[in-house]
């Protein structure tokens, strides 16, 4: 079980969290202007990287706040946490 650091509550067990999948997917402002392929891209297609993955998490059985995290999909290590709406931190 992973240990995840909620930016508001600190380190807690994974069982308190819910993963929201890939982060930084903005909802199109004018969905009607998109063709089916563009809409499908927003709706269905997700990155599946081997390595750093930028994702959304919610401390669902805690403060219920959403936040972003960068997690390595190979080592399961969390590399960074940052708030919703913030730009991801620069990594080397």
């Amino acid at each position: 079980m992973l240990q995840i650091e909620c930016p508001w509550c600190g380190p807690r067990d994974q069982s308190e969290f819910s993963c929201g999948g890939e982060a930084h997917i903005s909802r199109p402002l004018e969905p009607d202007a998109l063709d089916d392929i563009e809409w499908a891209d927003y709706l269905f297609f997700r990155k599946n990287p081997c390595g750093r993955h930028y994702e959304q998490w919610c401390h669902i059985f805690g403060c219920r706040r959403w936040f972003n995290a960068i997690r390595d999909t190979v080592t399961y290590k969390f590399i960074a946490y940052y708030e919703m709406g913030a730009n991801p931190p620069e990594l080397d």
Binding site: D32, D36, L43, M84
Partner: protein, 1004 residues
């Protein structure tokens, strides 16, 4: 009370405390401190059980969890525990144990016939034979289960309770041997919070069976001092009988502590086991090493065992493993054991050493004692009789250690201690993500690079010498303390141990098969699963090249011992046959659990009773109980299902309740419906974005039905939302949808629209809701609230007013889920019971009838009102439901764009319809598949399925709701429902609104 092989004084069992126990219905005696295995050996019980596949007699091989053979069950009926290793069972007064063996007779096992025909049972036999023809499998299966004899499950409910413990520490030390203890001491002196766990009944590991002195003291005294010091630190915890069974991500380690299995009497105030869920900043793995056997012909005869086990039985339990003991080794370690045996009065008939002329100090000492040493020799075969080993056959190895062997006679012995070197217990390291690496010079797999914050020490790292263990332990303690941000305290000195010269081992997995092996018997690699060296050879010959595949083909390492003795030898042998280096082949993956864990420990208190899942009850619950309601589980909620009167059947009750609502007035406890307060200047905007219809123009005091879609355009939830004020709404959701819908709304607010000024609050539990339905409900409301005007003009359908109930603020909604005139009264939850009771009193003259969810379902089905999740399944759009009227064209909302995808235009999408069977008394089963044709030509095209189905007393016939391909345009057409009994029955498609299609009654 004689124990034939008990020494006069060796070991540390308590000889003043004799213990009586029973094995296979015979009574024996042992001492306090014995294991079942050590006591059986003391009583010269050689054959413990028959083997899994060939039914060969088997004896004790090891002294702890590595034991593959000595599997027994203890207890009876509901306390029966199958599949225990005799080597791990602590002896207690009155213990009753049985062999886990299918046959009553250990000596004359009729099934051992399969041994004679064993050539017919090669590797892959089960795959090859039993999978064809398929229809025969059920016949074979019974036979195999009887053959296997793996014991019986307990017959009743477990009488024990189990606990879970969540724990955090700076440093977790797994293993209380020399390196683990000194590591723990290093961290403890640095002020760290330490958890040290050891799986045995005494902490000490190898020190419990060591003859060396430590800093001039006997090992046991050094051990005592260290434990005393560790116990003096308030932040240090020592657990014995606690096995670290799994190492998971982020230094999460699960530890199974056994608390009562060693006790004579069941005590219900004690917990049988405690499962520790530990998050450690740093982990030190001091898990030791398990001796590796050498594979040779007939190496499974009772009496052939690990040399280290002989040492432990002697020095810890004071038991001679046999009367005439021989050893077979490729390293120095057995010489210590042989000397100790001689000192305790045992007879050592010889040491067979693969190495040519070994010269280390300990070998010289053994030689000078007069123990015959056969260097440059191997044991090619063991020979035995009914009671186990009789002699071993020797041969001389050639220079390459392979192929050509010369017969060098026999050695008469009843016990053979084998040592092929050591396998460090790298299991936890591997589970943590590390990859064990093969150390060519040491001839063993050792821990590789650490992936998590862990390090291995001592024998677990391949360091067998005591001094190395101490050095490792101190170093690891320091690095772990620093890793956990501790300040180093006084570092323990490395204890003084006598250094002796030693000579490297010479690796050998298997004594090569040779023509000397006259009776041509098997060489076992995995004793528990009867996997032989020739099985491995066959697998290689048949083209298997990966060790994981060989494992699955030959069942190598599949037993309850997880191949602790066999796996590495198996890999070595396969590598040899394949002609590759073992480092290249690698090992099979080490998976949790290290040793078996009981289901009880895993489930803890989360079974059966009320702790499994919370039960949610409405504030009116007790009334329903008193009224004798039958309850239905809806999510975690208990809801009244129907209220049987006198001797009514469910059908009777439901009919009566339906008629009462349609003809008079009924009351439903609707408190469980999800309720969400939405407040803030952007409340309307949020609703506009989440619901398919428009909310901006809804006047205060009015309600509206809404459909919520996923972004994929599929219906997710529905419900009525009321506008309480300009910036204030109260949303209702389905009972099951309350949580998910709130989470869904919060997610959009937090992640996508943080600019919206809206607060969401779940108020499901804060309000009790009584729903009144039926033509008489208006009169009842007027009685309840004499000051309010309930006329159609003042209080029309889909409106809400605030009112006072006994001085408490309440709200009244005029809405309907039954198709009748209806009201819903919301009061603060604490007043729910009072409100309901008052309504029942006021409604007496109107013959008010409480009704349950079943009636509610029928009433709504008669109106064709959907239940999301029953009539929809995540692939249904508003259009599929025939609800285009609720989809706004003038605004964007979640899911809208998806409604214009190509797939949404298909005219054969499954659509929501009503069904009437030709036979009005036939109730279709929900889930029944529908076809267009009555004849059954396979393949049949399924065109839909029944989603809801009831008998309607109002309509005097059965009704059903269904999803049918292109159904909306097929009203009047026929479909055929396929029933489980094979009948195919016709039904007519129609509008789902069966009752009062113009909705006059609810809007009356």
């Amino acid at each position: 009370m004689t124990q034939m092989l008990r020494t006069p004084d060796a070991g540390h069992v308590k000889r003043t405390r004799p213990i009586s126990f029973t094995f296979n219905k015979r009574q024996y005696w042992g001492f306090e401190g014995d294991t079942l295995a050590s006591a059986l050996i003391a009583n010269n019980v050689r054959v413990i059980r028959r083997s899994f596949k060939f039914h060969r007699p088997r004896g004790i091989v090891g002294a702890w969890s590595e034991e593959p053979n000595a599997i027994v069950e203890i207890g009876a009926n509901n306390t029966r525990v199958p599949n225990l290793r005799a080597t791990q069972i602590e002896l207690y007064q009155g213990l009753v144990a049985h062999s886990v063996t299918p046959s009553k007779w250990l000596r004359f096992d009729t099934l051992a016939i399969s041994n004679v025909f064993s050539g017919l049972l090669p590797a892959g036999f089960y795959y090859k034979t039993f999978m064809w023809p398929k229809s025969f499998w059920h016949r074979y299966e019974k036979r195999i289960r009887r053959l296997a004899g793996l014991g019986y499950a307990p017959s009743g409910q477990d009488i024990d309770t189990y606990d879970k413990m969540h724990y955090f520490c700076d440093v977790l030390v797994v293993g209380g041997g020399p390196s683990g203890l000194i590591a723990a001491l290093t961290v403890a002196r640095s002020g760290g919070r330490v958890l040290l766990v050891d799986d045995q009944s005494e902490i000490g590991g190898s020190l419990l069976s060591k003859t060396e002195t430590i800093s001039g003291k006997l090992a046991k005294y050094w051990l005592k001092d260290v434990i005393t010091e560790l116990r003096s630190y308030p932040d240090v915890r020592l657990l014995k009988r606690a096995t670290a069974t799994g190492y998971y991500d982020h230094n999460f380690v699960v530890i199974n502590e056994r608390l009562t299995d060693h006790l004579e009497h069941h005590n219900e105030r004690l917990r049988r086991e405690r499962l520790w869920r530990v998050r450690a900043k740093e982990v030190i793995l001091a898990t030791g090493a398990i001796e590796r056997p050498i594979v040779f012909c007939s190496n499974d005869i009772p009496g052939v065992m690990l040399a280290s086990a002989i040492r432990i039985y002697l020095l810890r339990y004071g038991v001679l493993a046999g009367s005439k003991v021989a050893f077979f080794t490729n390293n120095d370690s057995v010489y210590h054991t042989a000397l100790s045996l001689v000192e305790s009065g045992g007879e050592v008939v010889g040491i067979v050493d693969i190495r040519k002329n070994p010269k280390s100090t300990i070998v010289e000492r053994a030689r000078s004692t007069g123990i015959p040493i056969y260097d440059d020799h191997v044991v090619v075969a063991a020979r035995g009789g009914f009671n186990g080993l009789k002699k071993v056959q020797l041969a001389r190895a050639n220079s390459q250690g392979d192929l050509i062997l010369t017969n060098k006679g026999e050695l008469k012995c009843d016990t053979l201690g084998v040592s092929g070197g050591w396998n460090p217990v790298v299991h936890l390291h591997a589970q943590s993500g590390g990859r064990p690496e093969y150390d060519q010079s040491a001839g063993m797999f050792v821990p590789g690079k650490s992936v998590q914050s862990e390090r291995s020490v001592g024998a677990a790292k391949g360091h067998i010498a005591l001094r190395e263990c101490f050095v490792d332990g101190v170093e690891a303690g320091k690095s772990a303390a620093l890793g956990a941000d501790l300040k180093l305290g006084q570092i323990p000195d490395i204890p003084f141990t006598i250094a002796e010269s030693s000579e490297a081992l010479k690796p050998m997995w298997e004594v090569p098969p040779s023509q000397l092996n006259l009776h041509n018997d098997k060489s076992f690699v995995d004793l528990q699963n009867d996997t032989t060296a020739s099985d491995l050879r066959l697998a290689v010959r048949e083209g298997y090249t990966a060790i994981e595949h060989v494992k699955r083909y030959t069942a190598l390492g599949f037993g309850t011992d997880q191949g602790k003795l066999g796996n590495i030898n198996g890999a070595g042998i396969v590598a040899k046959y394949l002609g590759v280096d073992i480092s290249e082949l690698g090992t099979t993956r080490f998976r949790p659990n290290y040793t078996p864990v009981t289901f009880g420990a895993i489930s803890g208190r989360s079974i059966g009773g009320y702790l499994f899942d919370p039960v949610r009850k409405s504030p009116i619950h007790e009334w329903h109980v008193m009224a004798g309601a039958a309850f239905e589980n809806v999510g975690q909620w208990k809801r009244p299902w129907y209220y049987p009167r006198d001797s009514e059947t469910m059908d009777d009750s439901v009919k009566r309740e339906c008629l009462a609502v349609r003809g008079g007035v009924g009351a439903l406890d609707a408190s469980t419906l999800g309720k969400i307060e939405i407040r803030g200047p952007d409340a309307s905007t949020l609703l506009n974005r989440l619901y398919t219809n428009s909310w901006s123009k809804l006047p205060v005091g009015r309600c509206r039905y809404g459909l919520m879609l996923g972004e994929d355009g599929m219906v997710m939830d529905d419900g009525v939302t009321a506008r309480i004020g300009d910036n204030h709404y109260l949303m209702t959701t389905t009972t099951g949808g309350a949580g998910p819908v709130l989470t869904w709304m919060e997610r959009w607010l937090q992640t996508e629209w943080p600019d919206l000024k809206v607060y969401l609050t779940s108020v499901t539990d804060q309000w009790a809701v009584v729903s009144l339905a039926g033509p008489d409900s208006r009169r009842l409301m007027a009685n309840l609230y004499p000051d309010l005007d309930f006329s159609e003009e003042v209080f029309p359908f889909m409106s809400v007013v605030s009112a006072s109930y006994v001085g408490v603020p309440s709200r009244i909604f005029r809405i309907s889920f039954s198709g009748e005139l209806g009201y819903e009264i919301n009061v603060p939850a604490n007043y729910g019971y009072s409100l309901w009771s008052t309504i029942m009193k006021f409604g007496e003259s109107l013959n008010i009838t409480p009704y349950g969810t079943e009636t509610m379902h029928i009433l709504r089905a008669e109106k064709g009102y959907i239940i999301v999740g029953q009539d929809t399944d995540g692939s249904v759009t508003p259009h599929d439901l025939g609800m285009d009227w609720i989809v706004s064209k003038n605004k964007d909302f979640i899911g809208k764009r998806s409604l214009f995808r190509e797939d949404m235009k298909r005219d054969n999408r499954k659509q929501f319809v009503g069904l009437e069977t030709d036979d009005p008394l036939l109730i279709l089963p929900e889930g029944a598949q529908l076809t267009n044709e009555q004849n059954r030509s396979i393949p049949v095209d399924m065109v839909g399925h029944v989603t809801s189905s009831y008998m309607s007393v109002e309509l005097n016939r059965s009704i059903a709701l269904a999803l049918v391909k292109g159904g909306i345009k097929r009203h009047g057409g026929k479909v055929y429902a396929h029933l489980i009994d094979g009948r195919i029955v016709p039904a007519t498609i129609r509008s789902p609104n069966f009752y009062d299609p113009k909705n006059k009654r609810q809007e009356a």
